[in-house]
């Protein structure tokens, strides 16, 4: 019950945060120079056509009234029309979001195992070559920007060794899969088409790797630090002195408390991927939400920018709540603190 209360409280405060976020973004987009009407309709339209557009979209109203119109529409799921695609923004979001969600899921979750493996290995073999190798690779990967990996993968696996589909969409032309969730790998599996699922996975692999590499090594380093910190604690010394095998100590007593900081970071990394995936999406021509958002920003497409920011803010909020829940599951002390 206390967990449920905590979640509800977090959701309530998240709503307030999201509201504030939309206000900031809406105001910023309106005050940045650029006539939304002219940008939406093109450079050569006449003034009366522009004026009609402004009237229809309440652009002549005061800023607070414009926000009220936008908010009341947003609460009904109507985010207005995109000046770039000329479609309803909600339609754009439902079209593009699954591609980014799928990319982020594959970039965020499977590498967790790699991060934990590398972090644990590095900690267990402290100051041996495994540790040095992991730390060396960690420094390089953390320092290298995501888009550099993207370009490298395109160069190496798209050009020098063309072994993978690197660019141009999410699926090969010979496959037709049912549209159930919008996540192609899952939809293909649900549709009983393992070959299509494999093909969709191959299309995902390099964009996801490019997005994941730096963060995975960061998470590995945090896991290592955390394990080394906890390894010196008295309770570990006690169980070791009781004759408990080292593998059991690592698995049962050391790993769980050590991954809590990593879990927190993983959650934040996954949330930030939604916004930071745009370069990867552009390089791989991946039809996702981040790329759509970037195009909207460059074209001063206010409606689309506000909607994308809202979605990303929502993703951030939900992820941080999920991280809290996982942390409470891993660390019973956090549950007890909340019941006091």
């Amino acid at each position: 019950m206390s967990l449920l209360k905590s979640i509800l409280k977090r959701l309530a405060s998240a709503l307030v945060v999201l509201l504030g976020l939309t206000i900031i973004i809406f105001v910023l987009m309106r005050i940045v120079p650029g006539d939304p009407a002219r940008l939406a309709l093109g450079a050569n339209v006449t003034e009366d056509v522009l004026e009609k557009y402004r009237e229809a979209n309440h652009l002549n109203e005061s800023l607070p009234m414009q926000y009220v119109y936008w908010l009341t529409g947003a609460l009904r799921g109507d985010f207005g029309m995109s000046a770039v695609t000329k479609r309803a923004v909600i339609q754009d979001i439902t079209d593009f979001a699954p591609a980014t969600i799928e990319l982020v899921l594959w970039a965020g979750f499977p590498p967790i195992l790699a991060a934990l493996f590398l972090g644990v290995t590095s900690a267990q073999h402290k100051n041996k070559w495994q540790d040095y190798l992991c730390r060396f690779l960690g420094y390089i990967f953390v320092a290298t920007p995501t888009f550099v990996f993207a370009v490298l993968f395109v160069l190496v696996f798209g050009y020098w060794l063309p072994v993978m589909p690197t660019i141009g969409g999410r699926l090969s032309p010979s496959f037709v899969i049912p549209d159930i969730t919008g996540l192609y790998v899952l939809d293909a599996l649900l549709g009983g088409q393992p070959a299509a699922a494999w093909d969709a996975f191959l299309h995902l692999l390099f964009p996801a790797l490019a997005l994941a590499l730096g963060k995975t090594m960061q998470e590995a380093r945090i896991t290592r630090s955390s394990m080394l910190q906890n390894a010196d604690k008295d309770y570990i010394t006690m169980v070791t002195s009781q004759g408990v095998p080292q593998s059991v100590v690592n698995r049962k007593f050391l790993l769980k408390p050590s991954v809590i900081p990593t879990v927190t970071i993983i959650g934040m990394d996954i949330a930030t991927m939604f916004g930071n995936a745009f370069l990867v999406e552009r390089i791989f021509n991946w039809p996702g939400l981040s790329s759509y958002g970037m195009t909207a920003i460059l074209n001063k497409d206010t409606n689309a920018v506000c909607a994308v920011v809202l979605i990303i803010g929502l993703a951030f909020t939900l992820t941080s709540i999920a991280v809290d829940i996982v942390a409470m599951i891993l660390d019973p002390r956090m549950r007890q603190k909340r019941t006091r």
Binding site: R38, L39, G42, A43, Y159, P173, N285, Y292
Partner: protein, 548 residues
């Protein structure tokens, strides 16, 4: 140690497994799409654009839109290589004695992709839609055409509010819509009983009669079109069965797709470095063509210090035209007029050269001679076209030599459009390239110099010259071609000494293309049509998939 080696071996096995499962093409799915997918055995020509084009002929008006519209729709008249027009949907035409009523006779053997016959009613509907909506290419007609009427199934009349000598040339942009299909697909909108005028439907579908029809439209991704096998005009048997317009032109993506034969043509915005590196690849060549594009420095004639003609001339003398024509835009020709040599009505205006001393002299004669440093010149370059930064830096380097302050400002295209709406917000110098909307000098005069249309990215010189406006109006209203050309030349004579804008180079557009299996005649100077978009006119491109 053993575990680590075992892990490495597993990874090696996985990579080997992947190598056996390689796929390089993109695909489609149930109701969704991916980049440029095709199932037609490689008989497809794909090219890149900066964004996914608008394919509604009442909305799209930029280069991207034009490349698709010309293929999925038929225009009323077709442009020719020499800048004139030939009959197309309109078989013939006549103009009334007062020069205001144009009567067109329409072909009776054309069917739309839907199977509906194309009639004069569709032509009238299309024009009326353009006028009512005021978007897309409507600006070419809305100050000229007063009334549109279909006299019968094969006769349509356009009644103008003045004599319109250039009307015929502008009708290359009237892409005929299937009115019945559009009317069946009206959605909710602001056009009274016409709802949204079919805008939502035409966003992703076509209602044309052209040599190609839309197969798949993916917003923010691509458009895929297939050949219209019932086209009324004969198509070359080697014309592509499909074409794809991909809305992304990141250099690394374009290079990789070209080298993997996932792309057949590049776009005109690739840097010279990218094009040159692609040209070195086996099977890829560079096509150079001139479609009337001129790279200009548009000068704000209403803002200090470029409101002084001497300062403007000084800028003209500060440009190193050899560097512009040889290095920045390789193989381009120095422009000698604001009108392209490919356009009807071109006349040589001036012959500026890179001369710092003359630039100094011009500054000395200007009203800002004593305090020119108090008036920094803002040079804005379009952020999405990296080569133009070099132009701005060239000016800055030259200006440094004579003590003129130049601020180089990188500006996103959206901001360029917005900044152009008033003389106060327009930069002193804007680096912009464009071709006329139709292949006559009038296209530039009307769109880029007339005060009536000031405030667009093309028309931001803020000249405000009543005499010039009068000369332009008179030329545009002259029906007789020879007389009209003479008036175009007179305008160029009038502007010769004023330096209202600086034409730098007749841009040689350079495209990398798959020469091993594509004949890119649409861009070949021997065949190319000097109207925006026609370098991607598919009936003028041949593909040989067996040579791929």
């Amino acid at each position: 140690m053993k575990k680590f080696i075992a892990s490495l071996l597993c990874a090696a096995m996985v990579v080997t497994l992947f190598a056996g499962c390689s796929k390089s093409s993109s695909g489609t799915s149930d109701g969704t799409a991916s980049g440029g997918g095709s199932g037609d055995g490689g008989n497809i020509v794909r090219y890149t654009l900066t964004t996914t084009p608008q394919i509604d002929p009442g909305v799209g008006a930029d280069l991207g839109a034009a490349t698709v519209l010309i293929n999925i729709y038929d225009p009323l008249v077709m442009p020719k290589k020499d800048g004139s027009v030939e009959p197309w949907i309109a078989k013939d035409w006549k103009v009334s004695d007062d020069g205001k009523t144009w009567t067109f006779t329409i072909r009776d053997d054309v069917k739309f992709h839907s199977g509906n016959p194309l009639t004069a009613g569709d032509v009238a509907y299309t024009m009326q839609r353009l006028l009512d909506m005021g978007e897309g290419f409507g600006y070419l007609f809305n100050s000229t055409i007063e009334e549109v009427r279909a006299v019968d199934d094969t006769t349509v009349e356009f009644v103008c509010n003045k004599t319109a000598g250039t009307l015929l040339a502008t009708l290359v942009r009237l892409y005929i819509l299937d009115s019945k299909l559009v009317e069946e697909n009206y959605g909710q909108g602001d056009y009274g009983d016409k709802g949204d005028y079919g805008k939502a439907f035409l966003l992703e579908n076509d209602a044309g009669s052209g040599p190609y029809k839309v197969k798949e439209y993916a917003a923010n991704s691509h458009v895929l079109c297939e050949q219209n096998t019932d086209y009324w005009n004969e198509l070359d048997p080697n014309a592509p069965k499909e074409f794809g317009a991909i809305g992304s032109n990141e250099a690394v993506t374009v290079k990789t797709m070209m080298e993997r034969k996932e792309l057949e043509l590049t776009d005109k915005y690739q840097t010279s470095e990218t094009i040159n590196s692609l040209g070195k690849v086996d099977g890829i060549d560079i096509m150079e063509t001139n479609t009337g594009d001129i790279m200009y420095l548009l000068l704000n004639n209403s803002k200090a210090p470029t409101d002084d003609p001497h300062v403007r001339k000084a800028l003209a003398y500060m440009m190193d035209y050899d560097v512009v024509c040889n290095d920045i835009f390789p193989n381009s020709k120095k422009a000698d007029s604001i009108i392209s040599q490919t356009s009807l009505g071109h006349k040589k205006m001036n012959d500026y050269s890179f001369d710092i001393e003359k630039a100094k002299e011009e500054i000395a004669q200007s009203k800002y001679a004593d305090n020119i440093t108090d008036y920094p010149i803002e040079v804005c370059w379009v952020a999405e076209t990296p080569d133009r930064e070099k132009l701005a830096l060239l000016i800055q380097a030259a200006a440094d030599q004579i003590g003129v302050k130049v601020n180089v400002v990188k500006t996103p295209w959206a901001s360029v459009i917005e900044n152009s709406s008033s003389p106060e917000s327009t930069a002193n110098v804007t680096t912009t390239g464009f071709a006329a909307d139709y292949p006559e000098a009038g296209g530039v005069f009307d769109s880029a110099l007339s005060s009536k249309k000031a405030g667009t990215w093309m028309n931001c010189c803020w000249i405000n010259d009543d005499k010039l406006d009068g000369m332009i109006d008179e030329a545009l209203s002259t029906i007789d071609t020879d007389e009209r050309v003479a008036k175009y030349e007179a305008i160029q004579d009038y502007l010769a000494d004023q330096c209202v804008m600086i034409p730098l180079a007749e841009e040689t557009l350079r495209f990398a293309y798959q020469s091993s299996y594509v004949d890119y005649n649409a861009a070949d100077p021997e065949y190319s049509i000097p109207v925006m978009g026609y370098v991607n006119y598919m009936p003028n491109i041949k593909i040989y998939p067996d040579k791929k």
